[in-house]
């Protein structure tokens, strides 16, 4: 009797019920509270176990990463900087500050002061794709033409990948194809991925590179306070 019930659940979840059985099933869900209750548990278990077992390897990989990050960041806390090193550090820091001061104080801000791109790291995508490693190598060595070609190939495989799209935009910006670059940044910034603010920031950089300071300012002001880019944006705004 009860076995029968679970077979029905299984068949329902794997789309194996005939039309007639499906009708019966749906009626029963409506009328029998206990049947519905058990089905909900069965379904939740099914989804939980499916997720657990099909992602087991990924989970192990993640744990490895977290363990090594934890060891790196949380285990070395007893290390104390000796006074001598500390002094050296202070001197170095003030020199860096001075240099920074001179670099920034003279005239209008320039694109290259702000265009420190994050490294392109797509390796985490499971497939060992040649285009991925080529794109990364090219981008990270500032060979934007080559990187753009590889990213174009990749975007045909990963159709809706915002990260790839954003990096395409950065390459275009570096190659002074402002129009196309900005079209990409606009597209991302009106979407709802996690890269929205980065796209806005790059739009601003594109305007900066073209010396369209007023427009650049306007765009910068739309970056919310909570964004990672906010600090840079504020810095740039001060200089405009």
């Amino acid at each position: 009797m009860e076995d029968e019930r679970y077979i029905t659940f299984e068949n329902y979840l794997t789309n194996k019920l005939s039309n007639e059985e499906l009708k019966l099933f749906e009626e029963k869900i409506q009328s029998d509270v206990n049947f519905k209750y058990e089905f909900e548990i069965y379904k939740a278990l099914n989804s939980s176990l499916a997720s657990k077992f099909s992602n087991e390897e990924k989970e192990q990989e993640l744990k490895k990463t977290l363990t090594s990050l934890g060891n790196k960041h949380l285990k070395k806390e007893t290390k104390v900087i000796s006074l001598f090193n500390y002094k050296k550090l202070m001197v170095a820091a003030s020199i860096a500050l001075l240099i920074g001061f001179f670099l920034f104080k003279n005239g209008d801000p320039v694109y290259s002061d702000f265009s420190n791109h994050h490294k392109l790291e797509l390796v985490v995508r499971s497939e060992n794709n040649q285009a991925i490693s080529k794109a990364e190598a090219a981008f990270n060595s500032k060979n934007y033409k080559e990187a753009l070609e590889q990213l174009n190939t990749l975007s045909q495989i990963y159709l809706n990948d915002t990260e790839i799209l954003l990096y395409k935009g950065i390459c275009l910006l570096e190659l002074n194809n402002f129009f196309e670059a900005e079209a990409i940044f606009d597209k991302i910034s009106t979407g709802n991925s996690a890269l929205v603010n980065q796209a806005i920031w790059y739009k601003a950089l594109s305007l900066l590179k073209q010396k369209k300071y007023l427009e650049c300012k306007k765009v910068l002001k739309t970056i919310p306070k909570s964004a990672e880019e906010f600090k840079q944006a504020k810095k740039l705004l001060r200089k405009l």
């Binding site: 659940f9 278990l45 090594s68 806390e77 995508r125 709802n192 929205v196």
Partner: protein, 193 residues
């Protein structure tokens, strides 16, 4: 569920992608607060590391299974989860005085809701795991194989049984598990979901 992800949703994506560059930012930016909280409350740096890692793995589970979307800043959400986890750990260890005093004062309704959602998910997840282990070893193996391999034809081949038998057995084992969960006291408390 059409929620707009918060900027900090990058951390959830980083968990899904195992992106160590972004993940290391979590450790750089947010871990010291948690270490300090644990140390102040009868723990050490190792405890803090465990709590942080377990919390991140829970968020990962929720993201991969339920498509969890972070709609509030990561900072307070993560801190509160770690704090409550440490509280539970202290209780488990038999500490009687487990009121952690210092607290973040400004917590929005939304953040609280997200924290609770994650906690509820975790409780259910743990319950399912522990009940799964109560199944007989044959059932455990069959279920594991059927969720890993996905095609029941191949599962049957793998286990050396007929396709019909494998399917029937799978629903029987799932049925047993359903009953174990249903009759547990923990599940009665987890009404939602």
């Amino acid at each position: 569920m059409n929620q707009k992800p918060h900027e900090d949703h990058i951390y959830i994506e980083a968990l899904l992608k195992n992106d160590s560059r972004v993940l290391s930012k979590i450790y750089e930016k947010y871990s010291y607060k948690i270490v300090a909280m644990v140390k102040k409350n009868n723990g050490n740096a190792d405890d803090a590391q465990d709590i942080i890692q377990e919390t991140l793995v829970t968020i990962y589970h929720q993201a991969i299974e339920k498509g969890f979307i972070l709609t509030c800043p990561f900072d307070a959400y993560f801190y509160l989860l770690c704090k409550r986890k440490w509280l539970n750990e202290l209780k488990k260890r038999g500490n009687k005085k487990v009121t952690i005093l210092e607290d973040i004062t400004s917590i929005s309704e939304e953040q609280k809701q997200q924290v609770e959602e994650t906690e509820l998910f975790e409780q259910q997840h743990q319950l399912f795991e522990s009940k799964f282990k109560e199944l007989g070893i044959k059932c455990q193996e069959l279920l594991k194989a059927s969720f890993k391999i996905k095609s029941m034809e191949k599962v049957a081949e793998f286990l050396g049984v007929s396709y019909g038998y494998a399917r029937k057995k799978k629903s029987q084992c799932m049925g047993q598990l359903t009953k174990l969960v249903k009759n547990s006291t923990e599940f009665q408390q987890l009404k939602e979901y």
